[in-house]
Symmetry: C2
Subunit: 148 residues, 2 copies
DNA sequence: GATACTTGCTAAAAAAATTGATAATCAAGA
DNA sequence: TCTTGATTATCAATTTTTTTAGCAAGTATC
């Protein structure tokens, strides 16, 4: 019976995450795809448009438009790749990165405090739980694909 | 330091959830909004368009279009509200509900097994963790709103 | 060096959302 | 009762964002 409670909470968490992303997007004046791109650029560093397309799971054509919007807004800039002339390197502007980070900070600090408030055993429990949950979603996403 | 690991996992979970939803949408031939609407109708029973709009966090006009698409595809039907002539009652078709459920089943069973494999203490830890996490996201989403 | 692949972009079209307006209904109060 | 104001679902027009298809430039492989 507790399964249902936990599953309901997992779903609710997903709802909140999406809501937070949309909120962030509105707050910063960019669209949701732009937020995800910025997030990737900030947390993993510069990337090429194709890498971003894979990360956002949209076409490279759509990525071009996302980057156009971000560039127009002054949030990123594109440079030529030093060795591969076909590629570009997309980098988040310092100012925009800091602005975005400042908006995400409350969430980060909240999680930080929450994790710190737990015992090492609890942390391990949570970590294992999350890992297995991710695997479950991955498996479930592949499952029906394989009917072909 | 473990905070970062856990936060990364939380984010990854969100990515998988969205991916699963899109996968489901493609699998069933409806859009993501339609999936969420069906989910609500199946798990909480019939609802009015306005209720669905609130749940999906889109306008009632957009909801009308979502319902049109679902109705055309034979996944739902609309009836007049018994007491309030302005309202409609949207109900999921039995066949579609079962079909949708069968596609979500692998995920549900996975979570079920995962929860069953844990001790009562671990379950409580997870539950508290998820509850607090939801609260953190809610707070973070409100935060910058209140700059006005 | 010729051929095939990769990369990022453009253009046209499709998909889906928003905003604003409208018709029908309800709820209260004069 | 009737009228005023609010609510509900829809429609129409516009905007936003994505996809598909195709292309030009660069790279790699043979």
């Amino acid at each position: 019976m507790a399964d249902d409670d936990i599953r309901a909470r997992i779903q609710q968490l997903g709802v909140r995450q999406q809501r937070f992303e949309r909120h962030l997007a509105k707050e910063l004046g960019v669209d949701a795809a732009g937020i995800e791109a910025m997030d990737h650029l900030i947390s993993t560093g510069p990337a090429t448009p194709t890498e971003l397309a894979r990360r956002l799971e949209i076409s490279t054509a759509a990525t071009t438009l996302v980057l156009n919007r971000l560039e127009t807004a002054g949030h990123i800039h594109r440079e030529r790749h030093p060795t591969d002339g076909r590629k570009l390197v997309v980098t988040a502007e310092q100012n925009s990165a800091e602005l975005a980070y400042s908006h995400v900070l409350p969430m980060i600090e909240g999680v930080e405090q929450l994790v710190e408030s737990m015992t090492p055993e609890e942390r391990m429990t949570i970590q294992r739980f999350l890992d297995q949950l991710i695997t479950i979603y991955d498996d479930a996403t592949r499952k029906t694909h394989q009917n072909f």
